[in-house]
């Protein structure tokens, strides 16, 4: 526990708990958010259950609507691009799963503080708790969506494999989760303060979909245009999910890049959170 010397008010001896530094408070928010995992996990689960309340399929509507989208896209674009279905179809489906996790997380996380304004103003809960709720909710949705891969392992067993490398998906998802929490916190703070950001992010995500190799393979790009792929910070994360889903290991450069991005995100997000944490409530 640190004491801060830059205080306008003289501290009296009677105060036993010294003023905690912003860093301690920010760190405590993360810690408290983790301790209260029961709350955010329950809320995330309720979010999904509520959305499909009284429908027969329930949350498996997620699976079904994902299946309809990706199967028809895979079939159509495979023919459109004249690529053999056995190569293209699994690639697109796995890529779309990765993309939907990343894009939906980004969309939802941006609005975290704005959408839970009333909750934030009525119950004292750590800020990171709300972020965790959204991050884990999107993870749960991803697990529902993942079921669409199952028929692909049967139909296209030459190009999509369920093997040891598939297990690598777990650490990859963990890394993405960490990024969701830290980057999401940063986004949610900026979006709470500047209300245009949320619209901007939503528009950007739509554009990024086309320049990220989800529907197309980077190998079709000429060498001098490859910066489109390497300069895209979302690409390594898409690849980290797609490769293990297809039974491959992600390239070392992909892992290294995403680890690098993660470290930067954590540091930057923590600095901003330390500085502005106490202001968030006044922005709502």
């Amino acid at each position: 526990m640190q004491t801060e010397s830059i205080l306008e008010i003289p501290q009296e001896k009677s105060i036993s708990s010294p003023k905690k530094s912003n860093k301690t408070l920010a760190f405590y928010d993360f810690k408290d958010g983790l301790i209260k995992w029961r709350i955010w996990f329950l809320l995330a689960y309720q979010d999904i259950r509520l959305r499909y309340r009284r429908s027969i399929l329930g949350p498996f509507w997620l699976t079904l609507s994902m299946a309809i989208t990706v199967y028809s896209m895979g079939f159509l674009y495979g023919h459109l691009f004249h690529i053999e279905l056995k190569d293209y179809f699994p690639y697109l489906v796995a890529g779309m799963l990765a993309w939907s996790l990343i894009s939906m997380s980004l969309n939802d996380l941006t609005d975290t503080f704005i959408s839970y304004e009333s909750l934030l103003k009525e119950i004292k809960l750590p800020y990171t708790l709300h972020i965790q709720r959204i991050a884990v909710r999107n993870m749960l949705i991803f697990f529902h969506n993942m079921i669409v891969m199952l028929p692909i392992y049967v139909l296209f067993h030459e190009s999509a494999h369920l093997n040891v490398h598939t297990l690598f998906l777990l650490p990859c998802l963990f890394l993405i989760y960490i990024n969701a929490v830290f980057f999401g916190l940063l986004l949610a703070m900026i979006a709470a303060r500047y209300r245009d950001i949320s619209q901007l992010i939503k528009n950007l995500i739509q554009v990024v979909f086309f320049i990220t190799p989800v529907m197309w393979n980077p190998s079709v790009l000429p060498a001098n245009k490859l910066f489109f792929v390497w300069g895209n910070p979302i690409y390594p994360f898409v690849e980290m999910i797609r490769a293990p889903l297809l039974g491959n290991l992600p390239a070392f450069s992909i892992i290294a890049t995403s680890l690098g991005i993660t470290v930067l995100t954590i540091i930057f997000s923590f600095i901003i959170f330390t500085r502005y944490r106490s202001r968030i409530i006044y922005w709502l």
């Binding site: 008010i9 105060i15 036993s16 709350i39 309340r53 909750l119 009525e122 119950i123 004292k124 409530i281």
Partner: protein
Amino acid sequence: MARIELHNVSVEFPIYNLSARSFKKNFIRLATGGSVVKNDAHQVMIKALNHLTFSIQHGDRVGLIGHNGAGKSTLLKLLAGIYEPTAGHISTEGKINSLLNLMIGIESEHTGYENIYLRGTLLGLSRDEIHQQIDEIMAFTGLGDYLHMPTRTYSKGMLLRLAFAISVNIKPEILLIDEIFGAGDASFIQQAQDKMVSLLKESSIVVMANHSDKLIEDFCNKAILLEGGQIKYFGNTKDALLQYHQQKG
């Protein structure tokens, strides 16, 4: 030992979607609400709490009085840790339970029974803790079989019964209460007040905002009279109420 200490605490709300120019009359002090000021960056701010210094010790039951917009709710939210002081320093010791808005966390599609678990968890109870108290809570609501119906079928009074029953089964050291009885019927209000009394007795510190003089006089040994975000009087309940009424008249 629970306690609360405030040193020169202020809370200022920035108003972002307002141009400072629309306030040409140089910010007259308004009859209700905190004072509106402009900061160095020409941003409009509402000074909801203005340089508060006081301390509340173990055993204190403090009533907050003042007209609408005097800062009662803001002060309670400050004590609850929801707002952090924009200037000054606050320190609290003790586990806090705040009954500010009972309806938060009540999900209309869930049954009353599910909502007990949901709001209980939100307030920091573990599944086991709720499980131990569930019979007591269910009995206290007096809702019977309605507990197995979605809460969207409830009337306002029934919702209040449910929300109240969940919230008061948490035993805090510091209890913060905003005006919470609106729609309850006479028998429930009596029942709720009895429950409140026992809860008040168990808590080490109570801070409550209420417009009922009788409640404040009965339960509180101290009172804070707020006006425009400032403390007008802090001390004896009777004197505070007297001053409050003089100022009104």
